[in-house]
Symmetry: D2
Subunit: 200 residues, 4 copies
């Protein structure tokens, strides 16, 4: 096959969750579509960095006027709360729940027991200093209930210990998530679910 | 094949989650094992009802002296709490968590929107009357976080409304269950996880 | 839980493809069913060896009069063909295809590269001697198209080499099996499918 | 989010096998990568139609000098054989097998019982006329062993009937494909595997 096809296949292989076979299917999909469609896609990809930038405060990607994103710029959000998440998509999920109205910070990853992974620790500490001046009272470690999420939370708890007791460090509550059945739930989930039981 | 093989295959097909093909594999497994092994299995199955009986109070199966099971007979368990579960295996999971020390009642099923399913409602109301005399203060609806679990809880809440406010009706807490990632969690799980967040 | 429940759970865990959790579900299924149903199942299991026996010639299990099964006893089957299969269920699948009318021999397993597994080699050689006297012309190695199946076929080819050229040793044909798509087929399947192409 | 992100997400949703969630992950993957990487990808996509074109004879995509692809241009390939395949990737699989040395024609799809799907029938008939002048002797219907593949083959057999007996119409052989086990194989696969058995 042509060099362009091979190079494009390799580029798609770097997409998350895509293997060589599906990467090749993507190329054939593009070949079978119209030149106009390909040009639109090409243009969208190259213009991505003009329309979308990384916020200098929370590090999420957004269409930005100046240096900071809409959530960081908004006056409607509660400066007392700062939620730390692994990645942009986590913010999308939380905003969909339409419940949280505080600020965010994107860690950009998680730490693993094997020493892999990295988070924006220096940037986080810098932001917290600024947020403290604006009345920060609580930092929410909003990490997944996975071993990596817990390991990252453990590390953050140490790093952020110096801000206590001025700032509370909290974690998202454990319990039955939608779809959970008791029979298949582990001890930690069930004991938290019992401890967090509520009038119904 | 012989009639015995066909009848035994059909009996295994009635086992939960077993189709015709695996049922047949079970029969060949038994044929390939020793006669001694088969006789032991046969004996265990036929003696099941001598060694294990259904508790007259909570309706779980257990090795029973008299009419009631070990949990119902125990003096160490808290009479103020009564947990309603769908099935025996749910109790096994909760006991594994080693956290809850109250009483149980096995509903024997869940109710579905389509009108299928049944629960031991009459028996439940009868038991509650007895438990009330023993200081019952809280009934915990420990159902799965599924549409059927929620539908069953809705129904029980209506049926049990007459015991309020003397008895509190509670539900297991919602939140991140072990393994949950924020990105893939729904709005209800995330808003509960936020509401149930705790000092960490 | 009672000793009977635990022992029965462990017995079901030895069933092919069944883990501890499903084994426990089986026990609860039996507890929830009627005593009559349990007694029927118990009786079927214990009477299995009276109604079903292993054929002394082909080693399959069948309801047997005397020493040999219906296929071995039948005069309608072609003595020139002997098909070697791994297990009883393979014969069921081949008979369902309603195409083959020769004799069978159940190897009782496959050999693996790691040295595990065993087949009825001595019994096979003994049977072949008898079959030779009855006009045997072809032995069909009807093993799966898996690495274990091929390794077993390689071994059998060596062991049976001494019967050539009097007896032909053949293998089932390779090609597209039902459901195969070209894109996902390997080189061996496709080259065989091309070599075995037929007027259509 | 910005309009560019939404439009790019929708473009990725049109990729084969990609849903809204993974499309969004692709966009975040591109945002997290360097501007240089994005520009390379953008350039590769827009230059695809310069480097790769559809062959005017077999309709596969290839880097092309003039109007026809390397396989159609090659003098080493057998003009007596023409293999009809659904899509380009099928040719890749067959070439990997390194067995077939004839010509190809890409149908561009399959026909379905529900009347969906389309193939390049007019173009096929046109090509066959040309190939007949070059000594065509056999057309191989190389379709998947699926209901759609068989339905398409049935249709092609009718359309191509007028070229018989000058041209043979053949189909790829059925049998055990790599990984097949007898127990789970259907009657058609097993009877073909038996009919296609070979000296071993």
């Amino acid at each position: 096959m042509s060099d362009t096809v091979n190079r494009l296949t390799r580029a798609f292989e770097r997409f998350p969750g895509i293997g060589p076979r599906q990467a090749k299917r993507f190329v054939y999909h593009l070949l079978a579509t119209s030149k106009e469609n390909r040009d639109v896609l090409s243009e969208l990809i190259s213009s991505l960095s003009q329309d979308v930038q990384q916020c200098k405060t929370c590090y999420r990607f957004d269409s930005i006027n100046g240096n900071i994103c809409r959530y960081c710029a908004s006056n409607d959000r509660d400066d007392k709360l700062l939620m730390l998440v692994e990645k942009d998509q986590d913010i999308t999920a939380i905003e969909r729940a339409n419940y949280y109205r505080g600020r965010y910070f994107v860690l950009g990853g998680v730490l693993t027991l094997s020493g892999k992974g990295a988070i924006r620790e220096k940037e986080l500490l810098h932001i917290i200093e600024t947020r403290l001046a604006n009345g920060l009272e609580e930092i929410i470690l909003a990490l997944g209930a996975t071993s990596e999420g817990e390991y990252t939370a453990d590390h953050l708890r140490e790093v952020l210990a110096k801000y206590r007791p001025k700032v509370r460090i909290t974690m998202l509550g454990r319990g039955l998530s939608t779809g959970s059945e008791l029979e298949y739930s582990d001890a930690k989930t069930l004991s938290s679910a019992f401890a967090n039981r509520k009038e119904s």
